[in-house]
Point group: C2
Chain length 249, copies 2
């Protein structure tokens, strides 16, 4: 079996490392410099183009940014053999699942590994990133699902099925709003007349809560824009919770 | 030199362990069961009463809850020798510094080690809790300050001077509001129709940001009530930051 991974950043690179470590043949699609680093690290067996990857692999994983993945999906709808299982790893599922349905790609299954780090790029990838973590699949054709569940288990993750709608609502609450809060806590501290002179006095609690703020801003803008309505709802709920006096007597 | 510590919980217990480890004679004041545990752990050399501690020690540290510390301070104003240096370790400084001024205790210096854990009580205390951490002092009589700075350095912490007002504003931003946010994130997730069924899917970011939520609620109510006006101001700033669209495109 061979798996093509398009985009060898933190997630794609970690998946490449983990699958290669399990003896799976991994084909990598990315810029030449990134592919060279991935081959050197034995994360991929070979470098190829999207077209060749679609012909050669049994499973193709879109691991670029959300907007690039959507564009590549439209291209795959024209060139991919019907048997190819396609999945992605982006943090918002409704837009790409809808697009796959519109493109009539029954063997597409949306995916989202609930794992990550603040650093990005292939240099930040590790084979153990998914170990013990949930990996959400949005459901789809049974054969495609079975194959993806098998791959997910091979990298030590736990497949979980959720609808794209439930997924997007869930990550708005558990991931997207915490990301915004992390920025807002840092922003509020940097804007405070006294606190901004003494940020070095922050304790481990503040550091834990602002760690996410160093995540790549451009990628996050795409994610949050893609999940805008769920994020608005979750943010409104948080702001209501913040005004509950019962939290603070 | 001997130091009396009144209240052998997380902070008082850790200070007792650290000072004893440095060869300082530590007298402990707490309930009998806690004192027994502290003697067994060699965190204190002897158990005593507040009255005896005030006569015998050169430095007395109030490490009970904020309201108990205020009560003990009033008692010390009646019984303590003039030479006794008194400090405390609570997270809000204006109330106790004002009370010390009203009681005419010139050798009182407000203190706040910027260190902690979510667990509480003597069982959670460790000698290394303060190592490398800032320890805020609110200023006061030079001899008292000098003595406290020396003790703080001996437990591996870094003395920092701030006015009580600046301190309370700072901790509202860096500690008290993050505490409230941690509760609110957990509350909002538990209240969400979808998220509450899938809290086990939360990633490391959410877990980092809700770790503080397990801190002892009763102690926190006292802290937040004591710093109510600064907390209100900092919370309003955070809520404004959360509505900035620029954070999320």
């Amino acid at each position: 079996m061979s798996v093509a991974i398009v985009g060898l950043g933190l997630i794609g690179g970690s998946l490449a490392r983990a699958l290669s470590g399990q003896g799976v043949r991994v084909l990598g699609v990315d810029r030449p410099g990134v592919c060279r680093a991935a081959r050197k690290a034995r994360a991929i067996a070979a470098t190829t183009s999207l077209e060749a990857a679609a012909r050669e692999a049994q499973v193709l994983v879109l691991a670029a940014s959300p907007s690039v993945n959507l564009r590549l999906l439209r291209k795959l709808a024209r060139i991919a053999p019907a048997a190819l299982v396609i999945t992605d790893v982006t943090s918002v599922k409704v837009p790409i699942v809808r697009e796959a349905a519109r493109l009539e790609l029954p063997r597409f299954v949306g995916g989202h590994p609930m794992a990550g780090r603040e650093r990005s790029g292939f240099a930040a990838s590790t084979a153990g990133l998914f170990r013990g973590r949930p990996w959400i699949l949005t459901g789809g054709e049974p054969g495609a699902l079975r194959r993806l569940r098998g791959l997910i288990r091979r990298v030590g993750a736990r497949p979980v099925e959720l609808t794209a709608l439930d997924h997007d609502r869930l990550v708005a609450v558990l991931s997207h709003v915490p990301q915004i809060v992390s920025w807002a806590l840092l922003h509020a501290a940097a804007a405070d007349r006294v606190a901004r002179r003494h940020l070095d006095l922050a304790g481990p609690g503040f550091l834990d809560m602002t760690r996410l703020a160093s995540s790549p801003r451009a990628l996050w803008k795409e994610i949050l824009t893609g999940n805008r309505s769920e994020v608005r709802r979750a943010l409104a709920a948080l702001r209501r919770a913040l005004s509950h006096d019962r939290f603070w007597g």
